[in-house]
Amino acid sequence: MTNTIQIAHGGGGRLSSQLIDEEIVSRFGEGPLKNLPDAALLPNPNSKIVFSTDSFVVHPLMFPGGNIGNLAVHGTINDVSVSGGRPLWLSLGLILEEGLSLDILRTVLDTIKKTAEECNVKIVTGDTKVVSRGQCDGMYINTAGIGVALENFNLDKNSILPGDSVLVSGTIGDHGMAVLAAREGINIENGPVSDTASVHKLVEIAHEFGQSVRFMRDPTRGGVAAVLNEIASGTNIGFKLESSSIPLSKGTDSISEILGIDPLNVACEGRMLLICDSSAADKMLEKWNQIPEGSGATIIGKATTVAGRVELLTVTGGTRLIDVSQGELLPRIC
């Protein structure tokens, strides 16, 4: 086998079969994928199902803390989880660029296999396409995920009441800053490391608190600022966060200070925001703190009566608006 992806790997001929057999079936060929049917035949879970999909494009493919493979598994699992589901099955769609190194592909597929096993989900169906050089950036991945809905959750942003607590499961902005620093070649000692991880165990803990949990979200693109603004918009509540409670890793803090980018606007890939009745918040936090995924969790603020407005109490004692970013995160001039 050659050591890069060629157009013929997607042509349906011998090279295609070789790629699928040696790289895909060898890793994921047990269970529903065995014998490569056109669709997976899955048992009926006898409950509501949660279904989500996400596409992953990231440059560079490898970054401190992970690679596109971790993201492709975690991203979809997390969307299913924060929607109140227990993730079970994933599809895996690969779009590969001609010239992609097979070593990179193997590393990514190994990561996907390992990550899926850790999260107790199965890759049950998939597809691989190859496009000409220049038509994609190394590789793109799409995953779709199916989970069963956990009972007793009543997740609805309209159920949030003033005084409810806002929890975050760990340091914020690490993924976005790690990728930005890797892409731009900003090398500092102890720089940011992506937080890519699954939040499904955190959701299982939250499930024990049932109706006290009002809403959950994973703050990916746009960061904590975008998610809280989205939740507050069109409701009668707002949020007020305390800057001194917001967990930041040293690496992310340093790079965002240098570039003038607010970590509240930067993506996480392994964190979740949870809004719950304040009487349950301390207990929830205590339980979260006991597992690695939630060891850095804190209560960062409260829901307020100021409709639609997300605010920050700063270290000076003043309060300011937390706005969504305008799209492209641009470093400041000076």
């Binding site: 001194s244 003043g318 300011r320 608006l321 001039i333 000076c334």
Partner: protein, 366 residues
């Protein structure tokens, strides 16, 4: 990061706030208010980010000045940059904030979406990497900024000169801070009692650079860093001077600002650049407020290399950025603010750069 945390200590901030309240009370007893202009865009952003404006006593007002280099770069310059970007043989290398600045009809980011090659740089030195990566292309670096950014860009120029690099040139629109202070202080429509002077600019020009200005206009000038506790400390220093009726230069950023500035940077400036009457977007021409390449370095000037002309600027008549830049009105007083003019569709320059006054108000205190 311990260094930063110390300057963001809530107890220290609370202590200085109390002192500010006491001093403002004394000033009020004298029947006076304090109109303080923070000249620099980084101060405007830090004041917004740490919510300082809102917590000051009523008779202490902070006015945002013209100190965002992106905002005061006129539309003729942007048009020239776009004209260059649309040529196949040219790559525009620029600080990120510039790509959304509207010229007279479009922006660099829109040109980029139509195929123009525009690269966002984190440092002027990125231009060197681009020149190696694209040896068949001409790299034009958008060389704008105050003294702070002039210095590293001239660092780039000295490498270009030394290594005889043929495919990098500069499109310059450099501005100087002290002449702008002078223009603001002598404007009869403005009523500024003190200046909070920029941190990084002062590192380059030195604290003593403000002495002639302070002696002439009798206006207190206090240099402070961009950290919240030090901004509050700077404001406290200003209020002390106003209460005591003194006017002097106070350097509260002594760990980086020397009395005579950075000799190396000043040497580069005097080697390559000469003073001229520069045009400021929204304000107009200010005498001796800009620096441009000396004639013997004109081969590094993109306007010479590509034979283009900077045309005078056109502006939306309803946009009041000029009055905002001079501190005559607050951004929220402009009829376009947060309506027709917002960060996604900026009409005036102050809304474009993250350090512009209107953008800071939009982001933090709308």
């Amino acid at each position: 990061m311990k260094y930063i945390e110390d300057y963001r200590n809530p107890e220290a901030a609370a202590y200085i706030r109390k002192q500010i309240e006491v001093l403002a009370g004394e000033l009020d007893g004298q029947g006076k208010t304090a109109n303080i202009m923070e000249v620099c865009g980084s101060h405007t952003m830090a004041i917004g980010r740490f919510a300082i404006r809102e917590l000051l006593p009523k008779n202490v007002k902070l006015i945002s000045g013209p100190g965002c280099p992106v905002c005061v770069t006129d539309s003729g310059y942007i048009d020239a940059a776009i004209e260059l970007a649309e040529r196949n043989d040219i790559i525009i290398a620029t600080f990120g904030d510039m790509i959304n600045v509207p010229g007279s009809s479009t922006t660099l980011v829109k040109s980029r979406s139509k195929g123009a090659h525009v690269e966002v740089c984190y440092s002027p030195m990125n231009a060197l990497e681009l020149s190696k990566k694209y040896p068949d292309k001409q790299i034009v670096f958008l060389a704008i900024g105050f003294e702070t950014t002039i210095a590293p860009i001239l660092g780039l120029l000295s490498i270009i000169e030394k290594q005889n690099i043929q495919n990098i040139s500069l499109l310059t629109a450099f501005k100087l801070v002290p002449p702008a202070l002078e223009a603001l202080a002598s404007d009869p429509e403005l009523n500024i009692d003190a200046f909070l002077c920029p941190a990084h600019v002062s590192v380059i020009i030195g604290a003593d650079a403000y002495i002639p200005f302070v002696e002439k206009y009798k206006i207190p000038c206090v240099i402070a860093s961009f950290e919240p506790v030090e901004i509050l400390f700077g404001l406290m220093g200003i209020l002390k001077q106003l209460v005591n009726g003194t006017s002097k230069v106070e350097n509260q950023y002594k760990r980086f600002v020397r009395p005579s500035g950075s000799p190396k940077a000043l040497e580069l400036i005097s080697k390559y650049l000469e003073v001229y009457d520069a045009s400021w977007r929204g304000i107009g021409c200010i005498p001796s407020s800009g620096v441009k390449l000396k004639d013997n370095y004109s081969k590094f000037d993109a306007t010479e290399r590509f034979n283009i002309e900077l045309k005078p600027e056109k502006q939306n008549s309803a946009c009041r950025c000029g009055d905002v830049l001079k501190g005559k009105i607050l951004p929220s007083d402009c009829p376009l603010f947060a309506k027709a003019c917002n960060p996604l569709n900026p009409i005036g320059p102050c809304m474009v750069s993250s350090e512009g006054s209107c953008a800071a108000y939009y982001k933090y205190s709308r």
